[in-house]
Amino acid sequence: MSTPDAFAPIAELARGLRARAFSSRELTRYFLDRISRYDGALNSFISVTEARALAQADAADRRLQEGQVTALTGIPIAHKDLFCTAGVATTCGSRMLERFVAPYDATVVARLDAAGAVTLGKTNMDEFAMGSSNENSYFGAVGNPWNPALVPGGSSGGSAAAVAAGLTPVATGTDTGGSIRQPAAFCGLSGIKPTYGRISRYGMVAFASSLDQAGVFGHGVDDLALMLAFMSGFDPRDSTSSEQPDAWLAGAANSPVGVPERAPVIGLPREYFDGLRVGGAALDAARRSLEAAGCQFREIRLPHSAMAIPAYYIIAGAEASTNLSRYDGVRFGHRCENPKNLEDLYRRSRTEGFGMEVKRRILTGTYALSVGYFDAYYVKAQQLRRLIQNDFLAAFAEVDVILTPTAPGVAFPKGDLTDDPIAMYQQDIFTVPASLAGLPALSLPCGFHEGLPLGLQLIGPHFGERALLETGALYQRDTDWHRRHPEGFAA
């Protein structure tokens, strides 16, 4: 066996498998060993499913022998711990679901399993995907591989940290208001949140149903496209999944992304750059690189994006408050000891089972939906959402993609923002507008600030993943930020 590269793109690992440089079992073992060696300091996995992974690897090896392979056969991956996995605990980072084992697979899990991918385990996350630092996990905070004293971002912090440290080649995540893009930026990764409806939400534990969307972390756009090729597509079990086929995306399973036929026109929304404290220079450099590759830049306006954060926290909270009503201690999940009566069962099971941030969002969401407040909050927020969406639609009449910073800063020390939820919510200021509009958005590493990764965000029109990924490919052809990895995680 030749030693695999922990940071190699999927296509390279797949070539290694097909050339018998290593078997899937050896490759899987290699990543499992890295997890046991490095994850103590990071805490990026909630569960590592070693026996299952090796069994999947053996099955993949048999198919490799028979030559019946997909681009993912035998490739190790990890799932954010809110994708239900039959027979394996799905905790959602919560005490409420500490012992919950779903009797079904999420569609994303089923599709990747069917493609022959090997699941190493389930990654840490902010409880019920609520958070921007991964400090809201019942299973403990996650360390950023670039500096374990810092947060990896959230809510998909475990997936981001695991990929950044080379503990898995790629990992799934979910993004409701930035939960893939912000941790991708903080950990120096590529991460994509596809168009709302592109990937089935079936079996994804719901946070905010109209915003939740599955996506993926990897080291470059090729891996993102390859994963999306398998994860995407209509699912009869999700009424909001899109029936629109995408031949280009399907083809990404077997060929690298490639650069656009015509260099895109890129919009720069002034509102997203005003007052930016860090990363301005890196974004300028990115712009110059893309200009050199033939892209044109145009200043655009997205005036209502400024109101995205309050609109987002009302809508997401409202949906979350009812999505989380099912956790009542009656049928599954945490149940308090010796309830005195029904009210006591509800009250204590939920008080004990949920963490502080989850409670905060249930309360604000319940408030926003209540009689007398509904029109002032929920209805207003929906109107804002429409205005924000219209801003984007107008912009895409002029430009192909939009470039913004991903996050207002770099990874911050654990504990820094935990007492200031409003400041924490501002982490999502650049990512939330695309979420509200249901648009696909990609975060790419674009440099460093004081040794910590910075990210740029590309936003595309609905179902415009191709434009995003090809623009990303153009950028990554001419830069190498996506090939920089944190020290201390060598093979």
């Binding site: 079936y202 599954f332 029904l342």
Partner: protein, 488 residues
């Protein structure tokens, strides 16, 4: 004073009633999942992860439920809304798995329509239907199975319901019952509900208020929940009206509250006060897209509509020549009407067929507690029976005997008549001999009759029927007897 069935309302008061009828739709699977629906299955065996509200599962609308709702809407001449929206109705209860019920609030599938009811005296009234919306049912809490514990059965969770809300157009308990009955009849015609009240396939909530006669503003109302029989509905409303009038006449005030009817004590009792109105925090369910109903879909459903009870009643009256009462009686249950029509078509006599179905058949079914679909006497056999009656093979008295034998499974009509020797004696010669004999044997009675005592005629008929074991053709016997008594 107005009186309905011994129920008396004070002359100074008028009652105002509106009904919410929950119709359990006869879809093969649940409204948002593929789980089957079967009444009486072992607890929690008819519930899939979607019905259980497990994490990550999503509802997918069963189009069959929409089809049935549209069918109902068309049958009551209602507006079918091109776009309707599913909302979440949020509340906690152990048998409500998700902590919310998926229902329709602001934009229901069916808009305003109307339903005509027929009152006891044959008068018709048109009752306004405000709307009808689709929703999922909750599970069941079982409080008596385990001491000190409550059992939850989620088999029913997710069953498709159509909630039909009436205008407050009903004025008496009898009208309310007639409306519920008519609704019950209609949904079975449409085959969108099995109409099984005992199994809870139709349940009704009644909103009841009273006001001084002549007043146009509505009084404060109470809601009586979960009535699942026509009789209970009527009795519960009767009680509630009297309770409210007594309360108001003694200087009290009606409180807005939910009440339950106790049929054993014949009274309603307060369940919970609605003073602190429940806040269900309705909002559109983000897991479901708005339902868009195209004109083509509506046309397709319309093409599938059966003959409706109203049309059938008119046909029975106008074409078959039945009375309004008989037409209404026969058309109430589509299976009864189908049975009747099969008998009438085969026998060629609608009136006699109606008499038999409404009389002996109905009585026998009631005694045996059977639905007409399981009647041991098939329509074809009943038609043969009617034919034998008409061709004088048997008398109507003997026909009842033959019907009983048919019911008991003793073979077909003709076999029974032959085997039991029930053929009517129509042989004039034989009857004539018998008549002469009886007249000769009873000179005293003959004298009485001739003296003008007509009643004695019955004595002779009795003697002759006894002698022929009831098989004498009654008309022929009468003629021969009269001739003999007249002294030839």
């Amino acid at each position: 004073m107005s009186t309905t069935k011994g129920y008396v309302i004070s002359p100074g008061w008028e009652s105002v009633i509106g009904l919410e009828v929950h119709v359990q739709l006869a879809t093969r699977s649940k409204i948002f999942s593929g789980a089957p629906i079967a009444f009486g299955a072992a607890p929690n065996t008819q519930a899939c992860p979607v019905d259980l509200g497990l994490p990550g599962v999503l509802p997918v609308l069963n189009v069959e439920a929409v089809r049935m709702a549209v069918k109902f809407g068309l049958a009551i001449g209602a507006q079918i809304n091109e776009r309707s929206v599913f909302d979440r109705k949020n509340y906690f209860y152990p048998d409500l798995p998700k902590g919310y019920q998926i229902s329709q609030f602001a934009q229901p599938v069916v808009g305003a329509g109307q339903l005509a009811i027929t009152l006891e005296d044959g008068a018709e009234r048109v009752i306004g239907v405000t709307r009808a919306h689709l929703e999922e049912d909750a599970g069941k809490s079982i409080h008596d199975a385990f001491p000190g514990l409550t059992g939850i059965d989620l088999n029913r969770a997710g069953t498709a319901l159509l909630e039909v809300v009436s205008e407050p157009d009903l004025r008496t308990p009898a009208e309310a019952a007639a409306y519920f009955r008519r609704m019950h009849s209609l949904v079975r015609y449409l085959r969108i509900c099995d109409g099984n009240l005992a199994e809870g396939s139709m349940r009704c909530d009644a909103n009841v208020s009273v006001r001084p006669r002549g007043e146009s503003a509505l009084g404060e109302r109470t809601e009586i929940k979960n009535l699942n029989s026509f009789r209970f509905l009527e009795r519960a409303i009767e009680f509630e009206i009297e309770r409210q009038i007594e309360l108001l006449e003694s200087g009290g005030a009606v409180r807005r509250e939910t009440r339950l009817f106790d049929p054993d004590r014949n009274e309603t009792r307060a369940m919970r006060s609605k003073e602190l109105s429940d806040d269900y925090r309705y909002f559109p369910d983000p897991d479901l897209l708005p339902v868009v109903i195209t004109p083509a879909f509506i046309a397709d459903v319309a093409a599938d509509l059966p003959e409706l009870p109203e049309a059938r009643r008119a046909r029975y009256r106008d074409t078959l020549g039945l009375t309004t009462y008989d037409a209404a009686w026969l058309t109430d249950d589509p299976e009864v009407a189908d049975y009747f029509e099969a008998v009438a078509a085969a026998s060629g006599d609608a009136k006699l067929s109606a008499n038999w179905v409404m009389g002996d058949v109905s009585a026998a079914l009631n005694r045996a507690e059977l639905p007409i679909g399981r009647s041991p006497v098939a329509p074809a056999q009943l038609a043969v029976l009617i034919a034998r009656l008409k061709d004088d093979t048997i008398s109507s008295k003997i026909a009842k005997t033959v019907f009983e034998a048919l019911w008991a499974g003793e073979g077909d009509v003709d076999t029974i008549i032959e085997a039991r020797g029930l053929r009517q004696v129509s042989d004039t010669g034989a009857l004539e001999t018998l008549v002469r004999q009886v007249v000769a044997d009873n000179p005293e009675q003959v004298a009485q009759f001739r003296a003008g005592k007509d009643k004695v005629f019955g004595f002779f008929v009795g003697q002759l029927m006894k002698a022929t074991q009831g098989k004498a053709n009654p008309k022929q016997l009468n003629d021969l007897l009269r001739a003999a008594l007249a002294g030839d």
